[in-house]
């Protein structure tokens, strides 16, 4: 069963704290994504990872960094979280260029 998982599903942090969002996939997909979703803005691309240790900035990378040490895991890190990073974060993976994206269930992050 093809699956993308995200942990945690809900998270509350205070401004200035560090945040780690984790994503896993069991499909051996090379390419993975991190997006954030805000009302009225659709999905905005934060980072793309083409494979282990091969990452590229998306449209809104500022304030975020990523880590991919294993093909099946892709982490999003917020160093010193800000209140404007309150959002829903989605991870996705694709089997190949132009392919269908498989999305995780999302992580709801609230930064107070």
């Amino acid at each position: 069963d093809m699956k993308v998982t995200q942990m945690p599903r809900y998270l509350i942090k205070r401004m200035g704290e560090n945040v780690l969002l984790e994503c896993g996939q069991d499909m051996s997909h090379e390419t993975m994504y991190w997006y954030r979703q805000d009302p009225g803005l659709g999905l905005q691309l934060i980072y793309i990872s083409y494979d282990v240790d091969s990452n590229s900035e998306g449209d809104i990378p500022k304030g975020y960094r990523v880590s991919r040490k294993k093909r099946e895991h892709f982490s999003l890190i917020l160093d010193s979280a800000k209140t404007n990073q309150t959002s829903v974060y989605f991870c996705a993976s694709i089997p190949g260029q132009g392919g269908t994206q498989y999305f995780g269930p999302g992580t709801r992050l609230l930064v107070l």
Partner: protein, 114 residues
Amino acid sequence: AQSVTQPDARVTVSEGASLQLRCKYSYSGTPYLFWYVQYPRQGLQLLLKYYSGDPVVQGVNGFEAEFSKSNSSFHLRKASVHWSDSAVYFCVLSAGTNAYKVIFGKGTHLHVLP
């Protein structure tokens, strides 16, 4: 520049009525086009996709979409909606030399009245 426009932020229809959700794209080459659906508090799921060939593509749950190169459109249709179709629908473009980069429309929130 590549872009996707979904001109209707919200659409309300009655159960049993037909549906069309509009999508216009901007891209000079041949696009890969997708429609995804997002139910409340869930991730996005693929409804259908177009790569080439027959411009009318069939998807899950009775949805279909028609690609028009002349109109730069990829409208989503359903003959008879059900209340469970209430969700947010996203039109997505994958294009260019780097087709790993995808462009999302802002979504259309569909509300089906029972």
